[in-house]
Symmetry: C2
């Protein structure tokens, strides 16, 4: 088991979250830590995807994970089995994390020396999209059972994300999900969004996703982003 | 197609939402309108469940539906095909509805003469649980692909609901979902919660759900609740 602790997050005192997020981003850049903000609906597969991502990358970079949850520590327990540093952030009912809350998590994690810090945000397609956490990149997971119409209904989330992982493609045949249609809807909102279909369960597509992440971490550390 | 209009909802001006919700509940009781607040994650199947529910009950009672969404009107379009009155509530980015916003919806619907008004809340397991909408009863849908651990992670939502519909049971065999375990977790948080497994797609379990709803509407209209 990796290190694992629970941190009760305090409400942010900063009024200007955008400014605070930019300042956190610069701090992390200086210490060469790439921060990924991972968002999705409840149950889209964030924790399973994360476990597979860590397995793919942990031998080549130092990884730390912040698990944001209103309550419980089931996700942090699952992640800690991969052997990486994990901190469970209890948000006390808050529906999203802002930059100051993320900074508390980064401190709790002790992110010096960490190449890739991953924030598993609260499962919610609405509120987390509205708050810059200071992340280097934003990613979201949409799972096949949720339906291909989600870009129409939660447009901001699709706009703020650099990557869209479409998860649970192994069960595609049991659901009425049009992959092309979904990608087109996402790109209409965000022409630059990178779409990667995956199955965290079977491992399909994880290599492509790990390649993207590896390349982004390198660019970040070399100051090219 | 039933009546169908779009309403831009204004931010609430009331400071005491609980009081306002109670007052809306009493107004609705006087006019014999039962209000169901239906909540879930994005993609759990609220709209499909609603369509099947309406089909089961529309010949015996007057039904009106309020579809809350940040953007788009795809759900209202789907529901209006059932022939009932529908109003699409655009929340302008808000992640939940409170009692005043619900009242705006009720006015937009013209709920006089409506036996059963259904509010399809914003797809979100966090924020809607914190705001009393003035509903007679709260129901939530958890879908099998989301996982049986959701009561551990979103406890407040399970506490405030009178009914838990477990949807998409037709795909149970493709997912690692323990129905008994899930029900036990929900009942630990809320011993009185009624759990009804359904498949909105195949129609399984919809009769039991419609029976519960029919009986609650009757009790409400007879002043027994």
């Amino acid at each position: 088991m990796g290190e694992f602790k629970i941190l009760e997050i305090k409400q942010s005192i900063f009024e200007d979250n955008d400014k605070d997020a930019e300042s956190l981003r610069q701090e992390l850049k200086k210490q060469k830590t790439f921060l990924l903000n991972l968002m999705s609906s409840p149950g889209a597969g964030k924790t399973t995807t994360l476990t597979k991502t860590i397995e793919a990358l942990k031998d080549e970079m130092a990884i730390g994970v912040m698990e944001a949850d209103i309550d419980s520590d089931v996700d942090a327990q699952a992640i800690s089995k991969t052997g990486v540093k994990v901190v469970q952030l209890h948000t006390g009912g808050m529906c999203h994390l802002d930059a100051d809350m993320t900074r508390q998590g980064i401190k709790g994690l002790g992110a010096e020396g960490i190449d890739l810090a991953i924030l598993e945000n609260v499962g919610n397609l609405v509120c987390p999209a509205e708050f810059d956490t200071g992340a280097s990149k934003n990613a979201m997971i949409l799972s096949v059972p949720e339906g291909d119409d989600k870009p129409l209904k939660y447009p901001l989330m699709f706009r703020v994300c650099d990557v869209l992982l479409i998860n649970k493609i192994d069960v595609m045949e049991y659901f009425d999900f049009d992959l092309e249609e979904c990608m087109e809807r996402a790109r209409k909102l965000n022409p630059d969004i990178k779409v990667i279909p995956i199955s965290a369960k079977t491992g399909e597509g994880i290599e492509g996703w790990a390649n993207w992440l590896r390349s982004e971490v390198k660019k970040w550390q070399q100051g090219m982003e």
